[in-house]
């Protein structure tokens, strides 16, 4: 096992190529995600950000035409290896989606469901309260835990979805444009929350919002598209460096708004 060598990365990709049928959506990605930090993935629309993110917890398995080459290592294990159970992968690598998607169940059930199916043995009430507090939602919903998750506002729903993801106690949380449906105040709340969560969790966030990437992340990966529309990673480094002193002309063009 290559365990030791990868121990200090939360996720490491090696020569990853991602395909939809014959179309190569992403090519040759080698990326190391630092644990307990926030990594932002930025880049123009269609460059494969979501595809990369969803390959980190095998969410693309549900796309019949999806195919991958290379290795994605989590704790030194290739999560695409034959003997790996994708359900176990997703328990440890949670996801928050672009559009808030609470279950049509009560707020309580939304949070408790994931823990319950994963055989959580402790006190569910406590877990629900704790994760709702962690997601900075507790004060707003504590009197209405029986109300439907769908009765909340968009920003509250998104925090509910974050709480729901936390309740499973993952190590990594993937977020695909989690603020794109939210107003600036709700967005700031989520960003504060991410900062808070990054003490315990590794967070990878896809965003179209340059300011968000600049202010909320520690590391930034910039992706773009080749002439054959395959996405590739142009530059990866500390956020401060990417935004103040990009090494690649394409990165500079993109972050200064001169792209395309």
């Amino acid at each position: 096992m290559t365990h030791e060598t990868n121990n200090h990365y939360a996720i490491e990709t090696r020569g990853v190529n991602l395909y939809y049928g014959n179309f190569r959506a992403v090519k040759d990605v080698d990326l190391q995600i630092v644990p307990q930090k926030i990594t932002a993935i930025i880049g123009p629309s269609g460059c494969g950000k979501s595809t990369v993110l969803r390959s980190f917890n095998r969410m693309n398995d549900f796309v019949p035409s999806f195919r991958m080459e290379g290795e994605i290592l989590f704790h030194g294990q290739n999560i695409y290896a034959e003997d790996v159970d994708p359900v176990m992968v997703r328990q440890r690598i949670g996801m928050v989606f672009q559009k808030p998607n609470p279950f049509p169940k009560s707020i309580y059930e939304n949070v408790a469901w994931g823990a319950r199916i994963n055989g959580y043995k402790g006190n569910l009430d406590e877990l629900v309260e704790q994760t709702l507090r962690d997601a900075a939602l507790w004060d707003e919903v504590k009197d209405n835990l029986k109300k439907s998750g769908l009765s909340l506002s968009g920003g509250q729903q998104q925090r509910l979805c974050i709480a729901r993801a936390l309740a499973v106690k993952p190590e990594i949380i993937l977020m695909d444009e989690p603020c794109s449906a939210l107003d600036p105040i709700a967005t700031l709340k989520i960003e504060e929350l991410m900062r808070e969560l990054s003490r315990q969790y590794t967070i990878i966030i896809v965003t179209h919002n340059m300011q968000q990437a600049a202010r909320a992340s520690d590391y930034t990966a910039f992706f773009t598209m080749d002439d054959d529309r395959a996405g590739l990673m142009v530059e990866y480094g500390e956020t401060h460096q990417i935004f103040t002193n990009p090494r690649d002309q394409r990165t500079e063009d993109y972050i200064t708004g001169r792209f395309g």
Partner: protein, 317 residues
């Protein structure tokens, strides 16, 4: 801006302003189509009203006959209109039994098939299985009736021995269930497929297995639609005629034994209207009363199902 508007001369007087055309324009094609569509809608509504009127009028004749009362109709357990026995219960129990056995088959199998098609089947498997189900739905009911009589009943007799009569409600009910299965399956599948993919992704993203996701997230989200499918299936079973007329029995029998022959509400109507009964005899009038009963039952079920579907729509967004 405001001021300018007020000081402006009225439009009509201003010759210099170019008149624009805002008058109504006759659109003949539009009017014709609208009228035609209205006519089509009206036909179906008028037909329904006509049916209600006819059923009501003839049933009234029935209930005005000497010796017929509503109480007797709904409480007595013998049904022989020709000799003055007007208790509809034997027909009702037979209908309840065939419906019950049909649902025993159609609901679990139909829902399971729907879950399989919507949550498990590969696109290829789905493209093979759905047409097969549609064929099942297209088989004429008379074929099902003979299937009950010549295949299901002998099979039941093999299992349970001679206590199973040649005509019996169990056989008719089970086969009716097979007939209704495609309806339950396709309606439930519609309800399941209408559940947004994002909900499934949410469940999988929390480490849900396919089964947990299907049963604990997708099915509850589609529940009202599924219940609506169930209710429609029940009203279909209550109204089904050919299978029960052929296989359940041709004579009222107040029993809860599924192995015995018993005539259902629809079976009775089919038998009486198939024979030559004279106008204004008790037999003749009674079939309208029973028709009204059936109409009321299915109407009630349909209203219930519409309510549930409406609730279902409220679930997301």
């Amino acid at each position: 801006m405001q001021k300018e508007l007020i000081t402006h001369p009225p439009l009509a007087d201003a010759g210099s302003i170019r008149a624009i055309h805002l008058k109504k324009k006759p659109r003949l094609g539009e009017m014709f189509i609208q009228g035609f569509l209205f006519f089509c809608g009206a036909v179906s509504i008028l037909t329904t009203l006509g049916i209600i009127y006819e059923l009501g009028k003839e049933s009234l004749l029935f209930f005005q006959m000497p010796g017929v009362t509503l109480i007797e109709f709904f409480t007595r357990t013998e049904w022989q209109p020709t000799i003055g026995k007007f208790g509809v219960l034997p027909l009702v129990t037979a209908t309840l039994m065939t419906t019950f056995f049909a649902m025993l088959v159609a609901l679990p199998l139909g829902l399971s098939a729907a879950i399989y098609l919507s949550e498990y089947a590969s696109p290829r498997a789905r493209s093979i299985l759905k047409p097969i189900l549609e064929i099942l739905a297209g088989v004429p009911t008379v074929v099902y009736g003979y299937f009950a009589l010549t295949t299901m009943t002998p099979f039941l007799r093999l299992l349970f021995g001679d206590q199973v009569q040649v005509y019996n409600t169990l056989s008719a009910g089970l086969v009716m269930g097979i007939m209704i299965l495609p309806l339950v399956c396709s309606m439930s599948e519609d309800a399941l497929s209408a559940v947004p993919q994002s909900l499934r992704e949410a469940a999988y993203g929390l480490g849900g297995t396919r089964l947990e996701t299907a049963l604990q997230v997708v099915v509850p989200a589609a529940l009202s639609g599924i219940i609506a499918a169930f209710i429609l299936a029940i009203s279909r079973a209550i109204g089904e005629t050919m299978i029960v007329a052929l296989a359940a029995g041709a004579g009222p029998n107040f029993t809860f034994n599924p192995f015995l022959s018993a005539e259902t509400l629809t079976g009775y109507i089919a038998r009486i209207s198939g024979g030559d009964v004279a106008y204004d005899t008790p037999d003749y009038n009674s079939i309208f009363a029973i028709g009204l009963l059936l109409f009321g039952a299915t109407l009630l079920l349909n209203i219930l199902s519409r309510r549930l579907v409406a609730r279902f729509r409220e679930v997301y967004e």
